[in-house]
Symmetry: C2
DNA sequence: GCCATAATTTAGCCTGTCCTAATTTAATAC
DNA sequence: GTATTAAATTAGGACAGGCTAAATTATGGC
């Protein structure tokens, strides 16, 4: 039996938290992300452990098993293929793809996944610039990126990822031209981390909170993974 | 809150049974179609009644309310749009579209539905020849069709619908050229209802069980709804 | 009209997923 | 080292959706 949406969402969340801070991940961090009560997550984690999708130490935290990671990465592949498809073939606006993909990722078949990948010619990155795991379900490499908030005045960088966050922010960023593949220059870093960028010869100010979820690569170490047209084939 | 897949599937089944035999529909007919125990369906029907999606008389049967019918028709629209899309844009083989659409129909948003319809240019029929309900969610008209099993030797008819049934049968029928829009002639009706057809100058024998789920229109009363290219725009 | 049978509901139980409130454990301050 | 506090678990309850077995109702034959 394939895992339920609740199980898959929990695995996906643990995966992301492990990427950000390393294992073990705490119960309340998971609960916060999923917007569920802690006690609900505790009982879900018990079931995950029964199914050998995670290992855990009570009061310490949880960690994905290989089996659990594979499930998480497959869901991630679904999510990113769907986002790419929605944007490229159904003309979805950038900021709406996340919500739709978040639901559908749990319900598409292997067949659907294959045909999606084929139709898209095995894309390597989704519309936010995030890497799409391959058919082998190896976890994608971490890119050599830093948050925009860590840049200094004068830096010339390429926007590499604009992570999923709320729709309004994404719509605004797309509107002013801040999308993966765009080259920008840091014009100013003001108090409280407010950053001013030169985007296509126009200045745009970005508050620090938003800047932390935008990843960039220095123009010196640009590789194929951050070329402007980042949808290569396999 | 939008209805769960279980609720939607039950409404869809009642809708189909009402079309076939008229209300009220019996509990065990629903249970058979859904492959659930009768007692399970009884408790689901109680919940449907609480939500005013059906009316029912214990031991007599159930009937959709306007509200219930609208939900059923919307799910039907999702199903048929998805089938059309899978076949036309993702290159799904005819016989696989049903299963995938049956899952996804419960999980797509209104936005997805709109973009699907737009991309397909508001198709009126799905790949099986079934009518696709419009945005207004009016139940589609019943076509002036009869089952292939009711034809007589010498009749010239157009295949109008080949209803969803098991994948192997559909694959076989597609293989021998029996798909919506094809004109055929009845060559022979043998004992036990075995029917022989002339399809593109080749004879094909179809057992009665299969022939009952194939609908045809006489070549005399062909209207736009059964033209060979049946995907018109609105 | 009564009886056998088929259809249906009721009773009772289970699991998954959710919650709040109470308790326990771990970590931190001092 | 103890006291406070934060994190996590346990206790207990709700509801949806599933089941089997037992009881009930309707129906068709005669």
């Amino acid at each position: 039996m394939s895992p339920s949406p609740v199980i898959e969402d929990t695995l996906k969340t643990i995966y992301h938290l492990q990427q950000e801070a390393g294992p073990p991940v705490g119960t309340s961090d998971i609960a916060d992300r999923l917007d569920k009560a802690q006690a609900t997550v505790t009982s879900t984690l018990d079931r995950l452990e029964d199914q050998e999708l995670i290992t855990r130490e009570p009061y310490q935290g949880s960690e994905l098993t290989d089996k659990g990671r594979t499930v998480a990465v497959e869901v991630l592949r679904h999510h990113r293929l769907l986002e790419t498809y929605l944007a490229d073939h159904l003309d979805y606006p950038w900021e709406l793809v996340h919500e739709e993909a978040d639901r559908l990722e749990h319900h598409i078949s292997e067949e659907f996944e294959r045909r999606l990948a084929e139709t898209l010619e095995n894309p390597r990155r989704d519309p936010h610039g995030d890497p799409i795991p391959g058919e082998d379900l190896e976890p994608p490499n971490q890119d050599p990126m830093r948050p925009l908030s860590a840049c200094e005045v004068g830096d010339r960088v390429v926007i590499t990822r604009v992570s999923d966050r709320n729709e309004d922010d994404l719509a605004y960023l797309a509107d002013v031209g801040i999308t993966p593949g765009t080259a920008v220059r840091i014009v100013d870093v003001a108090p409280f981390g407010m950053i001013t960028l030169d985007v296509d010869d126009t200045e745009q100010a970005i508050p620090e909170g938003v800047a932390t979820s935008i990843r960039v690569t220095s123009l010196n170490d640009v590789d194929d993974s951050v070329s402007v047209d980042h949808r290569g084939d396999a």
